[in-house]
């Protein structure tokens, strides 16, 4: 189910009411478990079966003693990754060897929803489970299952540290108007990003990308398609995260943030500390660190080479995680080379002088936008065609840009950059919190409600009830 769907909008107040009426920890957790399974299985029960099967493996692991766990951990990781590889990559792997796999008889095994996320979530939490146990917090199977399947982060993250999220299920949540209000603000913000920025852009530029895949894009249309996607992907994914975090917060749960002004990053290193933060942290801990340490220990005098190669390989794997296609591998390779190039030249994370920072932002974002062409175009000839068109060498003069797209792009860009400017500093409190000084809660709530109603009405008008195609979030496909 998508957070921006009408069904979710009507169901969530009911869920919130039932949650607070449930009163006790046991009943609240039971309700969350049922809602989460329903959320996952909304578009197909097979989504639930696969997730539950992997949870079964995790729960079996948790029954082991610490010595057995150390021996079993690599095997559990192998099972989880093989499961992911089977559902997501079998055709890609077979195709690389020139083999076409038949579909399994009687079954249509689409990629299970959320599999990329909960596979990583389970691996990370099984690795870290001893942290929680050493805090004297026992791991209960039902609560662990709920921690993984918790619907605000299940399908597309954020990937949470078990030590941060699991203990939050150990206490009943009492109603708090401050949490409800700040959660609602965050949800409305995310909803507006999705419904007012991401979806309208998608409707306008998807036909342009289809034309691009056939190789007939004019230069202005190429710029519109590429800038549109740049804005769309941020609004879509950060909007999803805001909605998930908002719903969680309304119930008294804290989920980590996933974005911190990535389009104001002045270096590749800065960018990846601001974009999809929880996935970057996962990759650093579980892919880069082991590879880099192992190679650095072996290659004492040339350890920089080992570390840079580990970094590139990590980014290639992250690229591949996004999807079973070479364009994602290429995207990862480009990002890896950018990061490696930066680290080879300087030890700084970013540029701090103002003119340098501005130049850095311009260059970093410019290169990012170009690498998004590789990400979005469906074939290499299409990507090359778009890049040529961006540079002004277009075979086609005639692709029409939808009327009003220029204005839409400008307004969307202004909104996206304004929101990110507010988000920029780590120490700055989120706007939602600033609005929630106790005396301002009623006013802030009123403003949020009004904005939400306007956005909801806009969505109904514009999609005429056929909005389902755009309710899916881009990252549901990864």
């Amino acid at each position: 189910m998508a957070y921006s769907s009408d069904a979710f909008i009507f169901l969530i107040p009911v869920v919130l009411l039932a949650f607070y009426l449930a009163g006790s920890r046991t009943w609240q957790n039971a309700l969350l478990g049922i809602v989460s399974i329903g959320f996952l299985g909304w578009t197909g029960a097979s989504n639930v079966f696969v997730a539950v099967a992997m949870l079964g493996v995790a729960l079996a692991f948790l029954r082991l003693g610490s010595g057995a766990r150390e021996r079993a951990f690599p095997w559990v990781v192998a099972v989880l990754l093989l499961n992911l590889a089977f559902f997501k990559y079998r055709h890609f792997i077979a195709g690389t060897f020139g083999v076409t796999l038949p579909d399994l008889p009687g079954l249509v095994w689409a990629v299970p929803l959320g599999i990329s996320f909960y596979t990583f979530q389970i691996i990370a939490s099984l690795h870290d489970v001893s942290d929680v146990e050493s805090d004297d917090v026992p791991i209960r199977p039902g609560r662990f299952a709920l921690f993984v399947l918790f619907f605000p982060h299940l399908i597309a993250g954020p990937i949470c540290r078990i030590r941060q999220l699991y203990p939050q299920f150990n206490r009943a949540k009492r109603f708090s108007s401050a949490y409800l209000a700040s959660g609602a603000h965050l949800f409305v913000l995310g909803y507006c990003k999705k419904v007012l920025i991401a979806d309208p852009l998608a409707r306008a530029i998807d036909p342009l990308w289809t034309t691009a895949n056939a190789g007939h894009l004019s230069s202005p249309a190429a710029w519109a398609a590429v800038l549109g996607f740049y804005l769309q992907v941020y609004a879509d994914f950060s909007g999803y995260t805001d909605m998930g975090r908002g719903v969680a917060r309304a119930m008294g749960f804290r989920l980590p943030c996933n974005f911190r002004a990535p389009y104001l990053a002045a270096s590749p290193v800065d960018f990846w500390s601001r974009w999809h933060i929880t996935l970057s942290n996962f990759a650093k801990r579980f892919i880069y660190n082991p590879l880099a340490v192992a190679s650095a220990r072996r290659l004492r005098s040339t350890r920089m080479f080992g570390m840079l190669a580990s970094l590139v390989l990590t980014m290639v794997l992250l690229g591949l995680w996004h999807g079973a296609a070479w364009r994602f591998v290429l995207f990862g390779l480009i990002q890896g080379l950018l990061l490696a190039g930066w680290h080879a030249v300087t030890k700084s994370r970013t540029i701090t002088t103002t003119p340098g920072w501005l130049a850095g932002v311009f260059l970093t974002q410019g290169v990012l936008i170009l690498s998004f062409v590789v990400f979005r175009a469906e074939a290499s000839h299409a990507a090359l065609g778009v890049l040529e068109a961006l540079a002004g060498f277009s075979a086609s003069r005639g692709t029409a840009i939808p009327s009003g797209l220029g204005v839409r792009l400008a307004v969307s860009a202004a909104c996206v950059f304004a929101m990110q400017a507010l988000d920029y500093s780590v120490k700055r409190r989120p706007v939602a919190m600033i609005l929630l000084a106790p005396r301002r809660i009623p006013l802030a709530g009123l403003i949020s409600a009004l904005v939400f109603v306007l956005a909801f009405v806009f969505k109904q008008k514009v999609t005429g009830g056929s909005g389902a195609a755009f309710e899916r979030f881009i990252y549901f496909d990864f």
Binding site: H127, D131, V269, S273, K284, R285, Y288, N289, P290, A292, V293, A296, R297, R303, M307, L311, L339, H343, K347, S348, R349, T352, V426
Partner: protein, 80 residues
């Protein structure tokens, strides 16, 4: 004082001869201390103090205070 050895490692790895460390120093306080250079720091400390860190320990060092505690657990005589 053995904190001097640790401080010297930090200064060399992050190329800052004026760098000072305290128990609450974190990566956010040192401009060059990102996850890439963290590996340089880890290897330099392993070499200087003849210890070996596990992957979990490498990732979970929240601040220099934690690092010193960990080094003491591994039998070194680092102290503030």
């Amino acid at each position: 004082m053995s904190i001097d050895r640790l401080r010297a490692v930090f200064r060399e790895v992050f190329e800052d001869p004026q760098l000072e460390i305290s128990p609450s120093t974190t990566a956010l306080d040192v401009p060059a201390w990102d996850s890439f250079n963290h590996i340089n720091l880890v290897i330099a400390i392993e070499t200087e103090f003849n210890v070996r860190f596990k992957t979990k320990e490498i990732a979970d060092m929240a601040n220099v205070g934690d690092l010193v505690t960990l080094l003491r657990k591994k039998g070194t005589d680092v102290s503030w």
